[in-house]
Amino acid sequence: MELLITLFVFVLYFGGFYLMMRRHVFEVLLGTLLLTHATSMLLIAMGGWKPEERPPILVPSAELPLSAYADPVPQALILTAIVIGFGVTAYLVVLIMRGNEEMNDMEMTERPREEDEA
């Protein structure tokens, strides 16, 4: 399972960086989304992956050792990271839309405009 997640993280990072290097702004946006997901998966992998672990809710009657429960910290980190990533992405979308209205193109690097050349 951990190998699978590692491969998954690799593919997500690979795709994310590939898209980040594209010219079109929308592809770059998708690239940032993939990178964010890749990092979330990486955090999950860092918490360890044992299918027999229970959710971290202590049951006094069960008397289980602490190692039987999943580590809640990576999940808390991911939750925070997702919320932050959502906010940043929303702002990025607004910025891209405004750029599109202002300049009528969706490319990262500036094309020489006609009046500049004249």
Binding site: M20, L42, I84
Partner: protein, 512 residues
């Protein structure tokens, strides 16, 4: 232990919310933001005196034992940075309030965003936790994204987009390194992480983590070769606020490097073998490439932006020396640099407000019209280059002496060459903007604004105070460096007896 160390975060944050509700009235926004901006200065100075007198101040959320809950810890390094942030914030706020930008732009969102930015920066200086540091970085970045792109005219959107994307990559990298820190060492609290890295005795894992953190904070601090995002973005920040951007924001990255390396990676095999050559080489490259880029620019703010990079190089160099005196020189240099750099940007802004442009080809002969501004600029630029009676000299002198004593001759030579080139590029601004025949761009405003010059002068006065009291400030820097090198103090303050005992045992065990 006092909850007071949370006020530098909570006060601006509350002010930001209040300003959002007062969006209709610029006067009310100015009153709230101004009261907070001004009150932060004595507050930060009081906190510094508190830390100086009583040692490191720690707040544990809900009294969870250190290492489990959220921890805020303020040591001398953090307190010094808080003071600098407060002084720069106040100066650039008063510059804005003197009418530096059009009313509609100022009314839009500038005050709440600026306060939020201040809260994020203060948060970064106070937190004791790697993940909280990530959150504070996001607050800083989000407010600066909006400040850079909002109501700022055509053509800014693309620059804002680039700045945002590059910083997003750095943030993702930061998050991944925080995850790796937790995965490899099982802690996010910085003091706890220091103990566990010492306990683990795995130089390879520590080296990977340290290098990732160095890359993350290096990108935030705009070191060579990761500086490309900065000189395009910073000159586009709103007038006045650009001083806070240039003075403080890149130094947040430097602060994090100063915080992480002495605390977590001082072990001889990781530091001397890999980090020290890396940091020294990056420092030298940053100094030289920054100043060479600055020499070729033709607008005041772009020259100054590349200078930020060049001066960051000195701070990184000081970290690379990694002795008590080297770090003390670095801290003195940061104190001097933040204030002088912010005041130089205010000079460029004051020129722009009064003349309508800060491009060197369009302005000239300012010395006859604004003698006060010329004197201010002369003081600041000579101080930046490190001419003896001014504050830049003392930091550079200590750095050069300590570098020579420790045998880093090559890097010392690079730093001296950089100083000469710095002076050259300052003279370029001086020759074009101040000395030659009077030129005024066609779109220059009819009425000048002297208020902004007063705000600029106040900040330069602070830098002269730094020069006059360089003795006590050097003592403060030395005490700060001592506290950084002696990491047991920090670990004891955050984790208590058990953490200290664990650290000592681990250090004992690692000795051959």
């Amino acid at each position: 232990m006092t909850n007071l160390i949370l006020t530098p975060i909570l006060l601006p944050m509350a002010g930001a919310v209040a300003c959002l509700f007062l969006r209709g009235s610029l006067g009310a926004q100015r009153t709230v933001a101004g009261a907070i901006a001004t009150a932060m200065v004595p507050l930060a100075l009081y906190l510094l005196s508190l830390v100086w007198r009583d040692g490191i101040q720690v707040v544990r959320a809900s009294m969870w034992p250190g290492g489990y809950g959220i921890v805020f810890a303020l040591d001398l390094l953090g307190a010094v940075m808080l003071c600098l942030a407060a002084v720069t914030f106040a100066a650039s706020w008063w510059f804005v309030a003197a009418g530096a930008m059009p009313r509609a732009q100022e009314k839009a969102l500038v005050h709440p965003l600026f306060l939020l930015l201040g809260a994020g920066v203060n948060w970064a200086f106070t937190t004791g936790d790697l993940f909280n540091l990530f959150v504070s970085f996001e607050i800083i970045l989000l407010s600066s994204y909006v400040l850079l792109a909002h109501e700022n005219g055509r053509g800014q959107t693309r620059e804002g987009l680039k700045f945002m994307l590059l910083n997003m990559i750095a943030s993702i990298f930061f998050l991944a390194s925080a995850g790796l820190a937790y995965g490899m060492f099982g802690a996010l609290n910085m003091a706890d992480l220091a103990v566990r890295i010492a306990q683990a005795g795995q130089p390879a894992a520590a080296t990977v983590l340290g290098t990732m953190l160095f890359l993350t904070f290096g990108a935030k601090a705009a070191v060579f070769p990761l500086f490309f995002w900065m000189p395009d973005a910073y000159p586009k920040a709103p007038r006045g606020i650009v001083a806070y951007f240039s003075g403080i924001l890149t130094k947040v990255g430097v602060y994090c490097l100063y915080r992480m390396f002495p605390l977590m990676f001082p072990a001889a095999e990781t530091f001397a073998g890999w980090f020290q050559p890396l940091i020294l080489a990056v420092g030298a490259g940053t100094m030289l490439v920054g100043v060479l880029c600055a020499l070729s620019q033709m607008t005041m703010k772009r020259i100054l932006s590349f200078h930020i990079i060049s001066q960051i190089g000195y701070m990184i160099f000081a970290l690379g020396i990694f002795t008590k005196l080297g770090l003390a020189a670095g801290i003195f240099f940061i104190i001097h640099q933040i204030i002088v750099k912010a005041s130089m940007f205010l000079v460029a802004d004051a020129v722009e407000v009064n003349e309508g442009s800060q491009e060197l080809s369009k302005i000239g002969g300012l010395v006859a019209v604004y003698p006060g501004l010329a004197v201010i600029f002369l003081f600041a630029s000579l101080s930046l280059a490190g001419i003896p009676p001014l504050s830049g000299f003392y930091g550079k002198y200590a750095l050069v002496v300590e570098g020579l004593v420790r045998g880093h001759t090559f890097y010392v030579v690079v730093s001296l060459v950089t100083s000469i080139l710095t002076l050259m590029s300052m003279m370029k601004i001086w020759r074009y903007a101040f000395w030659r025949d009077r030129i005024r761009p066609a779109n220059a405003p009819v009425h000048g604004n002297r208020g902004v010059i007063v705000a600029t002068g106040a900040l330069v006065a602070v830098s002269i105070v730094v020069a006059v009291f360089s003795g006590p400030i050097m003592r403060l820097s030395t005490a700060t460096a001592e506290q950084m090198i002696d990491r047991e103090q920090y670990v004891f303050a955050v984790l208590g007896d058990r953490g200290l005992a664990a650290l000592r045992a681990a250090e004992e065990a690692s000795k051959p």
